[in-house]
Amino acid sequence: MESINYQNFRIDAENICVDYNGKVALYDANLRLKPGQICGLVGMNGAGKTTFFNALTGFVNISKGKIRINGESVRSAQKDQTIAYVPQNEGIDSQFPISVWDVVMMGRYGSMNIFRSPRESDVQAVKDAIERVDLTDHLSTPIGNLSGGQRKRTFLARAIAQRASILLLDEPFSGVDIRTEKLISELFIQFKNEGKTILLSTHDMIHVREFCDLVLLINKTVVAYGETSEVFTPENITTTFGGISPDFLFGPES
């Protein structure tokens, strides 16, 4: 077998397992993604999607297996701010007294000094990022006063400002308006052209077909992984969702 050059992979997760106090949340999961690839992460609630994200960001420790980010450890990926995590809208406290500007600035914290005092370059990065998600009119708006879509764009801007090469997005399309959905899909194309790697979880099967080159179907472990056109079949989806027919999930195919 030819030897694998791990540098080629942005994300290389090998046989990873995660358990919480003895309860297995994810086992023997594998994932390999190259620059410019967009991969959908599909599974039921509790299938381990968030756990997978948490393992990649180092928010939880894996009990077995190995994760390499650009050929290096998760720890050094954290230091280099390689990975940006865009949370689900439900995953954040929307009543937190903080403005759009402050949230996006948090994307720069990792590369700032201990007092987190912004340099000129940080200010510029934040301005640019906010402009790209079309929120320039809302710089000082508290996040509690934003719509669901605007809030989602704020966190996308944070990931842009961070200049991460890997984006992990938890349900990027849930609870957003059409304008935001369009903007996000345009951003995806730009990210892809910039060579960023995207892993996104979604409940919406149509978005998988529309955006994802690859799809990873999981139910505590990998059910199927590969090119969307090959792997995203009704049979595999049914297995992933524990026997529920895809008709029930998407409505009857036309």
């Binding site: 954290q78 230091k79 903080i98 508290p142």
Partner: protein
């Protein structure tokens, strides 16, 4: 009686200042209030009110043991404060009992231990002053300790204020960009224990949790900016302390209780009339219906 001596506002304020113990109490309580008020912004946003309650009660045996051994009482309190949190974490992880139950049973256990120790160790410990505070009877060594601890906490909070805000808001992002979340967690706990220690002098162990949550909750109703929230929280805490001490002086009331009651009234005022989040939305009342 003595009530007629404050016919003017001027004498209401200046008369108590002629007493040395009152000047000391006003200064010390304001300092303690500022520290607790600062921290309270973080605790209310992090949802650590119950944790504050637990830590502040758990320091009791530490205070008693330290007094008995002739050590600085802040040291004992600190060890038991952090120890209680470690124990809560341990029991939660190793058993199926829910977190709020664990918190409740650990801190009451520590608190009971403290009370039993006081009754057993014959010394000059005044149970009443530990339970209800004694801002009017602070000794010189206590003053030094309080100033030292207060400055330490304020400096730590100032240095790490943005990191702590991020930790409260989105710990996952903090971890993802390589910020030491473990350190921040224990930093906040350390500050909480230290603030509980200085706070218990003012209002006592039972009420110190109010110092740690009420000013933050009040400020939270009044602003959408984090920096403003800390400033409002600190100011409302200081004002409450001053009001509480003056009122307790003139009406001969328990000082700790008066301070906390003043905080509660300020909170209720914000709850009813805060411009955006109050029940009556003062802004609308003034400007008329939009």
């Amino acid at each position: 009686m003595e009530l007629c001596s404050f016919l003017t506002l001027d004498s209401f304020i200046t008369d108590p200042l002629t007493h040395d113990f009152m000047r000391k109490a006003l200064l010390m309580s304001s300092l303690v209030a500022a520290v607790c008020g600062f921290l309270s912004s973080y605790l209310t946003l992090k949802g650590w009110a119950l944790m504050g309650d637990a830590v502040s009660h758990s320091v009791m045996p530490g205070v008693v043991v330290a007094y008995a051994l002739g050590l600085p009482f802040s040291l004992g309190a600190f060890i038991f404060g952090v120890g209680s949190v470690a124990l809560i974490g341990f029991i939660k992880q190793k058993s199926r009992v829910k977190e709020d139950t664990v918190i409740g049973l650990v801190f009451t256990g520590f608190f009971a231990l403290g009370i039993v120790l006081v009754s057993k160790i014959k010394s000059n410990i005044d149970l009443h002053s530990i339970l209800f505070g004694s801002p009017l009877g602070i000794s010189l060594s206590d003053v030094k300790q309080t100033i030292f601890i207060s400055l330490l906490v304020v400096i730590l909070l100032l240095i790490f204020r943005k990191d702590l805000m991020l930790y409260c808001f989105d710990p996952r992002h903090a971890k993802t960009v390589g910020i030491n979340v473990f350190f921040l967690h224990y930093l906040l706990l350390t500050c909480l224990s230290l603030a509980a220690v200085v706070g218990l002098q003012s209002v006592g162990i039972i009420l110190v949790v109010a110092m740690l949550i009420t000013p933050g909750a009040t400020a939270y109703l009044l602003t959408d900016k984090f920096d403003n929230m800390t400033v409002i929280s600190v100011l409302s805490a200081i004002i409450s302390s001053l009001i509480g001490i003056y009122v307790s002086f003139w009406f001969d009331l328990e000082t700790g209780g008066s301070i906390v009651l003043a905080q509660t009234f300020i909170f209720l005022f914000a709850f009813l009339f805060a411009p955006r989040y109050g029940i009556f939305k003062l802004k609308k009342l003034i400007s008329g219906y939009k």
